[in-house]
Symmetry: C2
Subunit: 557 residues, 2 copies
């Protein structure tokens, strides 16, 4: 390693690291990566679009890992309904693991400051490519441009830096060496002790199709910071955004005199997947996974692995009482429509008491609330300036089918999912949310995750029943978020206590420009890790501590 | 709860808590509980012996848990070879779990300071009973009086306080509430946030027969401090020491206006065990286990539980080079003889190169080293003042049989295990260690844990082979300790790196009054949690963090 290079990177970024460590304790707002595109270069958008266009129909040659056996790729733009034509170097599972294994000792023995310097510098380089990454995300996931920019750019970098900062703090909480002196009456025993955070081994990070960088970088940076070589296996339909991120990490590694194989990308296709071969290899000790519950359960069941999962859950919203119904339903309409419900944090089940919702202006009957929610969703999705942008595109054909089929689930159809035209991309796969009304007892309909633009309104006896069902769903099926609208302090306390007991966070009375879907780095834990929606959390101490083992050695003086 | 009582306990013990938190970061020597009996009351020994004698052949009525269905007990003193006749209140598994469940909310909502105040006060009360606990430990485990006093008294209290301090620090690392203010250009979003460490649920702590308090209190205090109600299920042959501990916890709970059911004891018999019924109950979310690998593997395999295990391992010692062989072999003789190898930290396999051991006075041939080790062990165990006290008693008949049968394992018998007479307890089950010489390739003989007084000398080609075999054994079978004698800095570095890679700590060149068997609280992690010897560590952050879930709630301002 070029020690002076790594050291100079650390010095350059030490203030950022220290601020990040302060931020994870303060938990007020902080970020070194502004979230608005306008905070960046004026020509950035145009340049990013051009750079993305140039990548299409070419081999992706930025990665520094060598020995590929060919080039593969099958990404399709949900906006263009067209293959991107980008092909990535192909490697066999064993080849990737052998290369990662070969870097284990070298990276594991690299000091914490050098690791931190290299990784924060990589985030800095990634920042200069936010626009490209945004277009790459848009045309793989179907997210709108602005969501693509924010989620895959600044917000992903935030989460990566957060994981790195949590890891750095954990690694440095215990002294690396200490003289231990035990008084024995007439004499003393003196030992020189040291403590080492020994990395667990090769780390596999399995990405998802909807948030290819945001959900991948926390595990990737946590594993790298704690000294584990990483293999990132993106979803075959969403590779480009993370490929750019990995390429930047590899470049900085190489500049610091380290092997790019410390952080490799593994690409496969839907027809010939290599994820299981990677995951089951005995050398792979750590697995991060974002995706379906069935594959997540499989990953969690693998013996001898430390596993971090984010799986499916059923997020709920309880409406009990509000000051003014209009901003509440506008906020909810946006929350369920944003990226067509393809966020793991999006509400799916909205519980409304049959007796109506208390407001400052009196009780609003149940039917009126449902009608107003319908109107709010319709108003948003059909809004010429906001509709298509809010919905974004549907990432997968199966998600669209699920939305279309919602009308035949058995509930009362308030809104069917309809095709929406995005004026900018006429053939884009865009659909409005289906809104289905069901009764409290129809749990077989609304207790499972219905990923995508499907929303259930559940008519309950009262808010106590709403809460009981919401709690039961979270306990049995898992939940990442829970929204509650309530003006009564006692009831709010009760809701919080009940939902927290099933390890589900509650967001109260969100209106305006803040939505239950949003989890802010350096403040909100993403997924609690306590229920069926996943066993890990971005980024609590567990998220990093389980990637290494403290080993202490002693020597007589 | 009597809040003023709990608060006053916290104020009383706050300085101890703060010092403990400082100590876990400093990792130099610290303890609030002196380890020498002479540091306590002069009449303590006599009073403790009397108190213990009075308990014999009586029902144990100190516990404050109610509704027992009878009294049971079958402890036998390895020294007296006589049943203690002490009977403990009997409860059904379901009964215990229902009572624990009933305390979940109450204890979970008790503030951290109150929990800490109650628990440190309990340790303080336990301290006043160290002598009784020592006799209870001696006559259940077979430990010598001095080891019983230290291990079950001050050292156990140290580990309990350490776990509590680690937990307290983790719980208070994140603010309980914070205003989050996000600048949005022309306006700001303001949220009131809170974070709660939600306890996972009922905690089951399964004790072992050899260290009934030392191995039990870390999990017990970690679970209690993080808000989980605890059920302690001691080994049916070693109940009394932990019964006294639990009784003291229950008394302080009651005085503070809390239910004693927050910390219950579950007693069973070898013929009618209830451990599996407790462990498999869905309400039990946390399990701490110390004992055999087979039962530990079963506990680890239970779905939906967070499990902390200490299982069996194979501890090794490598002799490469020394200054002076005599103090080295004296130290080793003591380490293998102490409590007859019934410590999870005792060395079992001693690797010696066939070419001999380098010393300051020249090379000592292999045969001479083995002879000197034999002499050192013989000298110790037959020493009229030290022998019986060092060996202690054999806790279980099967352990004695294993030692006796070591002569027929297939190696060359250097020393057969022989009965040793303890002048104080003539019928005591006391045996000297068997010392068996094997070749490097006889792995089927020495690669398994041979619990008790059985030591193998393994003749290797050279120290490289010693190290390779030692590493392989740790990787395949697990290891808690590793001793190495080596005067070459490069080789020491190499040994440390190799053994640390399989998550095994190394103790170098121990001579004099410090032994590889000893792990000091507030400094040495006990078990790394990284190899097959166990998945948990006293007491790293993981040991407490996995007992609760961070849940954050948000509210618009």
């Amino acid at each position: 390693m070029n020690m002076s290079q790594a050291l100079s990177l650390f010095q350059q970024h030490e203030a950022t690291l220290k601020a990040a460590i302060t931020a994870i304790h303060d938990r007020g707002f902080w970020t070194p990566y502004p979230e608005h595109p306008k905070a960046y270069s004026e020509t950035g958008d145009e340049e990013g679009k051009t750079a993305f266009s140039k990548m299409m129909n070419e081999n992706f040659t930025e990665l520094l890992q060598e020995g590929e056996t060919g080039f593969i790729g099958e990404e399709v733009s949900p906006y263009l309904q067209l293959g991107l034509g980008i092909r990535y170097p192909k490697f066999g599972a064993k080849q990737l693991i052998d290369k990662a294994q070969a870097q284990k000792k070298n990276w594991g023995n690299t000091d914490y400051n050098s690791r931190a310097g290299i990784l924060i510098e990589a985030l800095h380089r990634i920042q200069s490519r936010f626009f490209e990454i945004a277009y790459a995300t848009m045309h793989t996931t179907g997210q709108s441009f602005i969501m693509s920019f924010q989620a895959s750019g600044p917000h992903a970098n935030d989460r990566a830096l957060e994981a790195l900062a949590v890891a750095y703090e954990e690694l440095t909480r215990i002294p690396s060496e200490k003289e231990w002196v035990k008084p024995m009456g007439k004499f003393e025993i003196r030992l020189d002790k040291n403590w080492k955070a020994v990395p667990k081994g090769v780390s596999l990070v399995i990405g998802c199709s909807t948030f290819p960088t945001w959900n991948t970088v926390p595990g990737m940076f946590a594993s790298l910071m704690t000294g584990n070589p990483v293999i990132v296996k993106p979803h075959p339909k969403a590779i480009l955004p993370i490929a750019i991120v990995i390429a930047e990490v590899q470049k900085v590694l190489k500049e610091a005199g380290m092997s790019p194989d410390i952080c490799q990308m593994a690409v496969d296709t839907l027809a010939a997947p290599i994820t299981k071969e990677l995951a089951e290899d005995p050398a792979v000790k750590l697995i991060d996974f974002t995706g379906s519950s069935s594959f997540g359960d499989y990953v969690e069941s693998l013996p001898g692995k430390t596993v971090f999962t984010e799986k499916a859950g059923v997020n709920s919203c309880l409406i009990d009482s509000v000051n003014d119904l209009t901003p509440v339903l506008q906020n909810l309409a946006f929350a369920v429509s944003l990226y067509s419900g393809q966020m793991c944090t999006a509400p799916q089940n909205i519980f409304i008491p049959s007796g109506g919702v208390k407001t400052a202006g009196g009780l609003v009957p149940y039917e009126e609330v449902v009608q107003a929610l319908k109107d709010a969703i319709n108003g948003l999705v059909n809004h010429p300036k906001m509709g298509a942008g809010t919905l974004g595109g549907i990432q997968a054909e199966t998600t669209l089918e699920r939305a279309k089929n919602a009308v035949s689930l058995g509930g009362k159809v308030i809104l069917a999912s309809e095709n929406i035209v995005n004026p900018e991309f006429e053939g884009a796969r865009v659909a409005s949310p289906a809104l289905i009304e069901v009764n409290a007892q129809d749990q077989k309909i609304y207790f499972g995750e219905c990923f995508g633009p499907v929303v259930f309104v559940i008519k309950t006896k009262n808010s106590e029943e709403s809460l009981a069902l919401m709690k039961q769903a979270a306990e049995e099926k898992g939940a990442i978020t829970c929204a509650a609208y309530c003006t009564d302090e006692g009831m709010m306390h009760h809701i919080e206590e009940e939902m927290n007991e099933v390890f589900t966070p509650v967001s109260f009375n969100f209106t305006g420009a803040i939505f239950v879907n949003q989890h802010a780095a350096f403040s909100d834990f993403h997924v609690t890790g306590g229920n069926a929606a996943g066993n890990a959390s971005f980024a609590n101490p567990d998220f990093v501590n389980r990637r290494f083992v403290w080993v202490g050695n002693r020597r007589i003086k």
